[in-house]
Symmetry: C2
Subunit: 337 residues, 2 copies
Amino acid sequence: MPSTIVDVANLAGVSPSTVSHVVNGTRFVSEGTKERVLEAIEATSYMPDALARSIRRDRSESVGLIVSDAAQSIFAEMILGVEEEARARGLVLLLANSGADPAREMESVRTFRKRRVEGLLVAEVAHRPNEIAQYLKSKGIPLVLLDRVSEPAYDQVGVGTQEPMRSLVGHVLELGHTRIALIAGDTSIPTLRDRAHHFQAAMREAGFPPEAIGVVDSVPTQADAANAVAKLMSTAGSTRPTALVSASLNMTVGTLTAIRRLGLRVPADVSVVSFDKLPYDDLFETSLTGLVQPAFEIGRQAMKLLVRRLQDPNADPATVALTPRLVVGGSSAPPAE
Amino acid sequence: MPSTIVDVANLAGVSPSTVSHVVNGTRFVSEGTKERVLEAIEATSYMPDALARSIRRDRSESVGLIVSDAAQSIFAEMILGVEEEARARGLVLLLANSGADPAREMESVRTFRKRRVEGLLVAEVAHRPNEIAQYLKSKGIPLVLLDRVSEPAYDQVGVGTQEPMRSLVGHVLELGHTRIALIAGDTSIPTLRDRAHHFQAAMREAGFPPEAIGVVDSVPTQADAANAVAKLMSTAGSTRPTALVSASLNMTVGTLTAIRRLGLRVPADVSVVSFDKLPYDDLFETSLTGLVQPAFEIGRQAMKLLVRRLQDPNADPATVALTPRLVVGGSSAPPAE
DNA sequence: CTGTTAGCGCGTTCAT
DNA sequence: ATGAACGCGCTAACAG
C-alpha cells in the first residue's frame, strides 16, 4: 500500500533513477523535472523504504545497544546519551536488554547482526568481552564497550577509577575516620576489581597497613551485601567500622538496607559514601555523599567512538575515561567517638 | 563479506530455493539434502539477512518505541517490559527518545515508518495523540499508547486513576488531616487532569466543600512546583496545608525540593504522599508514602496489545488499566496540631 | 541532463 | 522432491 519509487516516477513522467537522484541529491536534475518529481512525491506521500535502501547501499544506518539492565538509572541515562548521538548522526537505535545473561546477550548480538547493524555498543557488568568480541571481530562489526575502562584492547568509555576513589577515600579520611571498610561486591568483575584495587591503594597511601584495610568481597547481589554489612556492623565497638565505602549502586542499596534494618542512623552511627550516587537521593534529609557518574556523557562518547571507528576501521582502540563528580551530602560526618 | 544463500546453495550443490526451504521449514526436503544444506550453513556460518527477508515477506519483525524521557525510572521500566515481550515474540525493538518534543517525536515516527516497523508504542506525557495517530492510521500502522487510560479510542495501557487516588486521599484523611493540597502539575495534560479530577472527587466524597479543596495547577516543571510549594508553605499557620499530595514524579521532586529548602521536616511539619513513588526512596529514613506504578507490566501489556492488533487489525480498541500499589512510608503522619 | 539495466539477498510461484 | 525464474524497492553503472 505504501507508494514506491516507481509510482512516483510514473506520476512525474520520469524514470525511477531520476526520482532517486532527486531524493538523494546525488546528481544534477533540471529545475523543471525536479519540481515535477517533488510534486509527485508530495501527491503520493512517498517515503523511501529504508530497508530496501539499506540492502542496496550495504549500509543499514542502524546500531545496536545491549545493556544488562535498562531500568537501572545509570544505564537508562547512558541509553539517552547513545540515542541522542545516534539520532544526530541519522542512525537508528536497536535496543536489547540482556538481564546480565550471557546467553541472551549473545542471542541479541546475533539478532542484531542479522539486521546488519553497522556497529554494537555493549554495557555489560558481568563478564569479559572476549566471547562476543571475537565473534564480532570475525564478522567485521565494530564494538564499543560502555561503562568500562579496563579493556585497553577495545574501544571503551567509562569513568576513571584511581582519582575518583582517591577523592572519595580522602573525604572520609579528612573527616577523621580510621576504621573504614569497602563494600566491594564481586571483584571478579573487572570494574569492581579496579575499584577495590584503588581503594586499597588510596588507603595504603594514607599510611594504613595492608592488614588494616577492610574489603568485603564476594557479595555479588544487594542481598549478599546487606547480609555482609549486617554482620560487619554487629561486631564489637572497637573493630566496627565507622565509615563504609560502597563500590557500586547495588552495593549502596544493600548497605543502606542493612543499616536501616539494624536501626542504625546515618551518619550518626556510621558514615556511608558511595562510588555511585542514587537517583534523587538529595531530596531526603540524609542525602548521599558519593560520586555522580556522567552516564549520559558516557553514552554520547561511546556513540561517537563507534562513529569514528565506522569511518576509520583501522584506528587504534581508544579508551575514554571520564571523571565523576564528588558530591558531599549528609551521609558522611566525623566519627562519633 | 557475509555469506549469502547462494553461497550455501553452491556449497551444498542445491538450489537457493532449497536452502530457503530448509532454513524456514517451509516445504519438505529429503533427509539427505537437508543434512548437506545444514552442513553448508555451518561451514559458511550463513545467517539469513533479516533486511532482505523483511522486504521480501513484507514483514519487518520490528516495532518502534518512543518515550519522552527514557532516563526517568518509570519509563525505563516500561522499556524493559516492552523489550522483554518483544523479544519473546521475536520482534526487534527500535527506541527513540522524544524529550517531550512533538517535533522530535513526529520525526521518529517517520523514521520508524521508513524502516517499516510493524507497529508503534508511544509513551508521551505532553499532548494528545491525534497528530501522530492520524498519520499512522492513514498508513495502516498500529499504535499503542503507554501510561495512558484517557483515550478510549486507542489501544492504551496505564494505571487507573479513581481507585488509586481514592486510597491515597483516604490514607491522608485517616491520619486526621483536614488541610490538604494537591500539587497537580499541568492539568492540560490528560493524565494529570484525570488525577486532579479524582482528587477533587475523593475530597468531595469525604465531605469537603469544593472551595476548601486546594489544587495547585499550572506548574508544569519541577521548578514551578517547588516555587508554588514554597509559597504555599509560607502562608500563615491556619491556612497552611498539613498534607501535600503530589500527582506525579516531577511534582514529588519539586515538592520535596521546596520543603528541604524551607528547612521544613517531613512528616513533622508536613506530610507528603505521592501518586508516583521515587526509586529507592525506602532506603532513607523518611521513606515516601505513595503509589508504586507497575511500570514493567505496563510495558509488557502494551506490547501484548500491539501483538494482538497485528494479528487482528479490526479488533476493538482496548484499554488496560492496571492497579498501582499503595505503600505507606514515613513521609505521612498525623498532623502536628 | 535523463533513461535503461542490472543486481542487493531473499521468498515464492510455477514447473517438472 | 527439487530448480528456474521473477520481483520486493531501491541505487548505481553505463549509456546516450
